[in-house]
């Protein structure tokens, strides 16, 4: 009895040694900053970290009167609400045509993943050049059929659409890979019955495939949503938030306010707390909705 207790105690110590490195890293670089974020958001503090003073709710009050915060919220929502469904829908359609494990389909699956291997920075540079209205390939091809292409990136009407298009172009392979992997796990016997009934490919996809991979689609929706809400790279490279802040998302605004123009860390922090709360609420709602739906099914 005594001996087993001793072994258990020794095992406990070893276990703590095993988790120690990770716990130190997570504590110093995740937990401490996370708590600090809320504190900093209530301080007056700039990038040079002199003259720090307590501001209380001042930063938050300022935030609600800041038109750029509302504008950035709106842009982030527009971006997310269009980008996420388009990316998932595109992945689903392509998956529908890729149900066979033929050489062609295997090759295509890998091909669609290639843009995702490249950084968003590189992809954004690539598309900025292709879409350039003075020397870009597309402008030339359009001109040949009589269309004069405007400068998309500096057009308030088109800039956001272009950013969404480029984001989908790079990321759809990611969603596609997850969804195809899930469809390959569906037991073939489910399709056999449908084959006997003479169901078409589309019907089989809607009535068998989609219900079987619902969980995976839900997972993709949540992860893509979180990523979309944090969109920054493509905006930084392609438009810098312009024209007229038309493509400025919350993260672009936080970066701009904290590190580029005003160096106002306290205020930028309060906007990031605001972003965090929105993401948390929407994520929880989405998860609830998804799991609620499953219960209904069962």
């Amino acid at each position: 009895m005594e001996k087993t207790k001793k072994i258990a105690a020794k095992n406990q110590k070893t276990a703590y040694l095993f988790i120690l490195p990770s716990m130190v890293v997570l504590t110093v670089f995740v937990f401490v900053p996370l708590v600090s974020a809320f504190i900093i958001s209530m301080l007056n503090m700039d990038l040079y970290m002199k003259d720090i003073s307590f501001a209380g709710a001042e930063n938050y009050l300022k935030m609600f009167q800041d038109a750029r915060v509302w504008n950035a919220t709106k842009n982030t929502l527009i971006f997310t609400v269009i980008e996420v469904p388009v990316q998932i829908f595109l992945a689903l359609i392509l998956t529908m045509f890729m149900q066979k494990n033929t050489k062609l389909h295997k090759f295509l699956r890998a091909s669609f993943y290639v843009p995702y291997v490249c950084s968003m920075t590189a992809i954004s540079i690539l598309w900025s050049m292709l879409l350039n209205s003075n020397s870009g390939m597309l402008a030339y091809l359009l001109k040949k059929i009589g269309i004069v292409m405007p400068n998309l990136m500096s057009s308030p009407t088109y800039a956001m659409a272009v950013i969404i298009m480029v984001t989908v172009w790079r990321n759809f392979g990611y969603t596609l890979t997850i969804i195809t992997a899930a469809t390959l796990d569906i037991p073939y016997s489910l399709y056999e019955a449908a084959d006997l009934d003479g169901a078409s490919g589309l019907k089989k996809f809607i009535y068998i495939t989609i219900p079987s991979i619902k969980q995976t689609i839900g997972f993709c929706a949540v992860t893509t949503f979180i990523l979309a809400f944090q969109a920054f790279d493509q905006i930084y490279v392609m438009t810098g938030g312009g024209p007229q802040h038309k493509t400025e998302t919350l993260v672009s605004y936080i970066y701009d306010r904290g590190f580029k123009t005003e160096h106002d860390l306290g205020y930028a922090s309060s906007i990031s707390v605001y972003l965090f709360i929105i993401i948390a609420i929407i994520t929880i709602c989405m998860r609830k909705y998804i799991s609620g739906k499953e219960e209904q099914q069962a």
Partner: protein, 277 residues
């Protein structure tokens, strides 16, 4: 009979659509690569031509000489490489304890770690900047590596992988007198190679491609990674068209080559993440 024909039409239409999408994916990438071998005049020529009139490496020579692209490349390799190796080590050690050992507070700690997966980087970005400044590691490679030396996703993925390794193997080893660390090193780690490689590639790719994190934590040109350096150069309009093309190719080439040879691991790393949950 009619159904069969219908199925065939469905398949053919599908393949045509798939091939069109594949072209839309490949043409821009091929354009990028071939254009990086154009001359300055060729790059901005109107009407533009897809292929270079003559193939030159002038843009690459310019980039290597005029921009610290090689030091950026080195930084990116050191940053992404170190993060990958160190986080695999730390995460696997922690995962071993969570999957294979009993200790007080295990459940609570694991739940807290899982919850950090919900924390977006943007909320800790400003405190992290201040913290690194106070620790004196702001704008150093060490400052880029340390915060990423362990992560919730890695611990979570490896814990679930380690728990699936049969207990019987471990019991046999214990009878042979192996302690926990030896079991971790000689049994669990070798058996988990595929999971470790997939996770490693996932880390390597994400860190290689990351922009906001390295851009914020490194201000000097000497410590910039490729994507941060490139984004700043393009953002400040301080680089011409041709060199931008060459620099972009340099930044994506290493990962593309890695993908060509280790595709399976790239895809497995993320494909498995969606199936669970």
């Amino acid at each position: 009979m009619r159904e069969k024909r219908k199925g065939k039409i469905f398949g053919v239409t599908g393949n045509i659509i798939l091939c069109i999408v594949a072209l839309l994916v490949f043409i821009p990438l091929v354009w990028l690569i071939v254009s990086s071998f154009k001359t300055d005049a060729d790059v901005i020529k109107w009407p533009p031509a897809f292929l270079p009139k003559e193939w030159v490496t002038a843009q690459y020579e310019y980039v290597v000489n005029a921009i610290p692209i090689l030091s950026m490349l080195k930084n990116t390799v050191v940053f992404a490489g170190s993060v990958t190796v160190i986080s695999l080590l730390f995460d696997s050690l922690a995962a071993y304890a969570f999957a294979r050992m009993e200790f007080r507070g295990k459940k609570v700690l694991f739940t807290i770690i899982l919850l950090t997966m919900m924390v977006p980087f943007q909320i800790i970005m400003i405190p992290l900047y201040i913290e690194e400044y106070k620790l004196g590691i702001l704008d150093t490679l060490l400052g880029l590596i340390l915060p990423r030396a362990s992560g919730a996703y890695g611990i979570y993925m490896l814990t679930s992988f380690f728990s699936r390794i049969p207990k019987s193997l471990e019991e046999a080893a214990r009878i042979d007198g192996l302690n926990n660390f030896q079991i971790y090193r000689k049994i669990v780690m070798p058996l988990s190679k595929p999971a470790l490689i997939s996770l490693g590639i996932y880390h390597f790719m994400n860190n290689w491609n990351d922009l906001l994190y390295p851009m914020m934590l490194s201000s000097s040109v000497e410590n910039r990674t490729l994507s941060a350096g490139l984004a700043v150069l393009v953002g400040s309009n301080s680089i011409k068209y041709g060199p931008t093309l060459a620099a972009t190719v340099i930044s994506i080439c290493p990962l593309l080559l890695l993908f060509l040879f280790g595709q399976r691991f790239f895809i497995e790393g993320i494909a498995t993440s969606g199936v669970k949950e």
